[in-house]
Symmetry: C2
Subunit: 683 residues, 2 copies
């Protein structure tokens, strides 16, 4: 098999000598690759001039739907990927995390983008800012796609997941990507990539692929609209962020590097408790899943000093039961490392750790199932114990990227917190306790040093997704040693590939740019009641001013009787005089109901339902004898894709509602959400 | 006057030879300074070990109130600052921007923090993330203060504003700061700083001050919890972001550097139109206010080719009327540059610009009012014209930091957009047009290259705050040449000094950490109706389940008659059968009103008013014969400071409301906001 490059819309075979990629298990050649002669500058330009403009033609929802389509396409082809994954030393569980987990990031990014972002080519961020007294000059933040290329430099451990978790947010944002996997396992990344190209789902120029050790001179050709997203070692990360051209051009860099993550056993937990079992299971799993080659794995198990023996005993017992060997052989729960190189590097770091920590578990002569120990990168778990973790820095600094973890004792919570933070910034920490007070104290103590914190007890354990699993809903990344970056996190990850801009101007102009009605923007009065118009016919800013209604004492009485709400401010003249309102006032919900009565159009029409309401504020009380009137303005329109079981094609129309009294004071303001039919012909 | 350092809670005089700071107008010595012998490492440690913990004891609202107090205190002392400001060459208008503008950033940051953030020691970011089917394992993002020191490296042009716009967000976030102003004008920054110390408002260790050219070896001692916020030249910015220790420790760096900002005159604008006058006024103002020494000034005026002559004529006329000289002399509208050094640097850059641009306005023998030209850093405006702005890079790259601007022509909008973006990233761009279509095309074309865009027409001009004015509500900063950073932007600026952490666990645990009720968290049933409890007595998660009510046909009829809402889904049996609901259903607002009837307690009590409602969703229709019941849970509590004219001390209680039917299906969910009395003794 050849791992080919995909550059400027073409499959390209490197011109030079090919390097071999070995099976992690058998040592046989799985594939070869070469990138010699690739035109890196041309690739970057192609992304910027072809891929970017192609992607930016679509709205965020349209691009999000491409991700969903792609996820479905890859899911249908996953058998091929599973086959290749076994060459990387991954067990079936490891592969499931990599492939199914990777594809699921596309599904979730897609659905969150469609649920939480507008269906526009930009993203409107936060509320309008009032910058002037009369409101003729206002502000609004928006995000727009960066007009450059996103360079993804991925790690070897999850060839599929690592590629897709970055690609989802990038494509959703509207940026093209150049993907450079690690050579180790790159045949798997290449196969997934090839499927993506075959699918034809992403527009031309959206994705390119470099099968290389290093991305040539690509970094020399990056500019201020470009983004580098890197996962890998802290050392390589630093090289990237200090690259002269990256500094010169203020290229946006996001680093996610390895870190010395910890798990803390709470002081309340005894060996008999469920939380103890969960802790042991988690530490052992994080050592053995993917043979511990996870940047999120638990490298430091921080336990109360009087539980150290119990923890070590339980971990030894659990680790000794783990079958290691050929990933698909019967009884194997831990496969091989990714390569012989990795194995050597790991051994060097284990030796360094041993200089200050005691080995409490290590198979002297491990028995591997169905494995060629000479050729395959096999390795047995190593559990260490460091008695004086405040004295020695090694367990907090040296990362053995494999099935290795160090147990260390603490006396009290401040010590546990200090030890956790001695990692100088981690991707994730976890806390196992049934005492929420302890959980809060530890969590708040270690939060500034972590990107993610998982707290496990008997309530959360069963459905927990695990210490080591970054989720597309949540930010992934951490401060300091972990690189200081952030990925994923729902739509937060998409915004990393966009530029935030503060717009200033008249509300009318900004409303037109943002395609949303902003307070103070011009309103358009039309003769037809807007509830008689189809989704397609409604314009942003279109306004309907209702007839009026005088609120009477009888209304209050009737509303109280009907609702059952006899609050003193409506019914007790004596108490009402002492209240904030100084006299009896109408129920807020009566005002809301009467306003609906003023604007609802009784006969069947395009408006199918009012399904929600946002941001209601009662500004002024409505008193007996006040005359109210409502003003209804089209605020925002969002097309909904018609599903098979939908009777009609519809869209969501958000209406700005203002209820005024006879003095034109606003008595209530809110936004209602309605489902409105689209014209059949437009579907 | 001596500009002293303030280190580790003490005023410190540098031990070495003092350097003199000269009056920009008279060349006389205004002050002296020395930083020799300062213990930079000790200062950073003091901030981390004294200032940080002191600040983090308080909630965000409490720290925001300190900012408000500080703003009031400085406002009361501003006469002293105005006096010193005149030595920097600033006119009264320039000084107003620097001092009143600077102080106002504290007021606005304070009020936005209190309005838009919770009154907690952390900030809850976004909604709960459902991570599991049954909801026993969920996610929630929060922000916590970084546990390091914020190093503020400020520019010379706005000694007060530059210090305060960074300090507000830093203190609100809970981080201590070490402030290093530029030596030029540092006597003004020092005087404002001294007032802050005198006030005693910020806790010990919150702020320190270095009166220096460079911050010694401070950068060598920074770590991953620290932040550097820099304003100044792109060159110095790059030195900071590539500093080996900054890279090594992933120190969080925010750069705001100079840039070649542009202003675009729309193709629709003729010399007779208001927008033409606004454009001329803005370009001229940006050249002369603060003698053009603003990182946001208009360096490039991009105008339709057929309007070039009109624009140049109008600008010449306007510039020739500007009185230049001693800032406080009668008739002076433009003062001096900040120093003789700056004057020389400016002249070198003007010369470079002249190599490819033609000078269209420059006083050969300028007459300065009441000025010593030898000693003072005076300079006359220079207007250039570049005929071929696509051919020459100088006007897009060389920043003459003074009263200098270059006019350049465009043929069509794509050309105007390309020219704007040739700045390779700017802090701000402005667009003058009365044609919203042109505004949209230009804005969307240049948005990715800008941090802020101002669009001016006859509606927005009068209340506009101007091209050159960054506002605390809006982000300040820009991509590429502008440094790639972001400051201010309301609470966005505060979050730069905090670490985002994704929490995972049971909703009960996360609710306790976040001090907010999360769906699925444990609810506490108490025998006393929660509306009879004072603010102080209510616990997060406390729940009241109401009695039930069967919804009848009579209810629908009565509600329709009372509200006037006769929508067919409630009243027309035939049409309702064809609707989404398949039969007549109760009004959504009836359900809301009936729920209120179920939980409202009629007699006067601690709950004073229901003033708002958020996030209402009607999930299931309520049909005739359905029996509903409401569940009311304390979701969030926010103490309000008691003002003088408040009758009671109060707090806001947000209640999670769920309305269920007889099958325990949720029919509606929302949050209501109530004002609740605090117990008198707690005030």
């Amino acid at each position: 098999m050849e791992v080919r490059n995909y550059a400027k819309g073409q499959w390209v075979t490197g011109s030079g000598t090919r390097k071999a990629l070995l099976d992690a298990v058998t040592g046989e050649v799985v594939a070869e690759f070469s990138t010699d002669g690739l035109d890196y500058k041309g690739m970057a330009d192609y992304a910027r001039t072809v891929g970017g403009p192609n992607l930016r033609q679509f709205t965020i929802h349209e691009r999000a739907l491409m991700l969903k389509e792609m996820a479905k396409y890859l899911m249908a082809h996953k058998k091929e990927f599973y086959k290749l994954s076994s060459h990387t030393g991954a067990t079936k569980t490891d592969t499931w995390i990599d492939i199914d987990g990777g594809i699921s990031t596309l599904f979730i990014t897609s659905s969150k983008a469609r649920r939480e972002m507008q269906n526009e080519k930009f993203y409107v961020d936060g509320n309008m800012e009032m910058l002037s007294k009369k409101g003729t000059f206002v502000g609004q933040h928006i995000y727009v796609p960066r007009e450059g290329v996103a360079v993804h430099i991925n790690a070897f451990n999850f060839p599929c997941w690592g590629m897709l978790e970055k690609l989802g947010p990038t494509i959703a944002a509207g940026m093209p990507a150049i993907i450079k996997p690690s050579p180790i396992g790159s045949y798997l990344a290449a196969s997934v990539f090839e499927s993506m190209i075959e699918s034809g789902i992403f527009p031309e120029g959206s994705i390119q692929f470099i099968a290389a050790d290093v991305p040539g001179d690509l970094l020399d050709h990056l500019d201020s609209q470009d983004v580098i997203s890197f996962t890998g070692s802290a050392g390589t990360g630093k090289k990237i962020s200090s690259h002269p051209n990256v500094i010169e051009k203020s290229v946006h860099v996001n680093l996610e590097t390895d870190s010395l993550n910890c798990s803390i056993l709470g002081p309340d937990v005894t060996p008999e408790m469920d939380e103890f079992k969960f802790f042991i299971r988690e530490v052992a799993n994080e050592m053995t899943v993917k043979a511990g080659q996870k940047c999120t794995a638990i490298r430091r198990a921080i336990v109360p000093e009087d539980k150290v023996d119990d923890v070590i005993d339980a971990l030894k017992k659990r680790l000794s039961g783990v079958g290691i060997g050929k990933p698909d052989a019967h009884g194997v729960r831990m496969g091989s490392l990714a390569s012989k190189d990795q194995q050597e590097r790991l051994q060097r770091n284990i030796d360094k750790l041993k200089s200050t920590s005691e080995v409490v578990y290590e198979e002297k002569e491990p028995k591997y199932v169905d494995a060629n120990v000479e050729k395959g990168a096999f390795c047995s778990p190593v559990l260490l114990y460091n008695k004086e973790p405040f004295k020695y820095d090694e367990p907090h600094e040296i990362e053995a990227f494999g099935p290795v973890s160090t147990v260390m004792p603490y006396k009290d919570l401040p010590q546990a917190i200090s030890l956790a933070n001695k990692g100088h910034g981690s991707l994730v920490g976890s806390i196992f306790t049934n005492d929420d007070d302890a959980a809060i104290e530890i969590a708040m103590g270690i939060a500034p040093y972590h990107g993610r914190l998982m707290i496990i007890n008997r309530d959360s354990a069963k459905e927990s997704t695990g210490h080591g699993s970054p989720l597309p809903h949540l930010t992934h990344g951490g401060p300091g040693r972990a690189g200081g970056g952030e990925e994923m996190g729902g739509i937060r990850g998409i915004l990393h590939y966009m530029q935030r801009v503060a717009l200033q101007g008249s509300p009318t102009t900004l409303a037109r740019i943002c395609n949303v009605y902003l307070k103070g923007a011009k309103q358009i009065e039309t003769p037809i009641h807007p509830f008689r118009k189809y989704f397609d016919e409604l314009q942003i800013g279109e306004t309907h001013t209702t007839y009026r209604r005088t609120v009477t004492e009888a209304d209050i009485v009737n509303f109280g009787c009907l609702s059952g709400d006899h609050f003193y401010a409506h019914f007790d003249d004596i108490a009402a005089r002492d209240s904030l309102f100084k006299e009896r006032v109408a129920h807020g919900y009566f005002v809301l109901s009467a306003a609906a009565g003023l604007f609802v159009d009784p006969a069947p029409g395009p408006v199918l339902a009012n399904y929600g309401l946002e941001g209601l504020r009662f500004i002024e009380p409505v008193k007996i004898g006040d005359t109210i009137q409502a003003k209804l303005t089209v605020k925002r329109k969002t097309t909904k894709p018609k599903r098979e079981d939908d009777q009609y094609a519809t869209g969501v129309v958000a209406w700005d509602v203002e209820v005024l009294n006879q003095r034109e004071d606003t008595v209530a303001m809110y936004t209602i959400l309605t489902l409105v039919k689209r014209k059949e012909e437009s579907v």
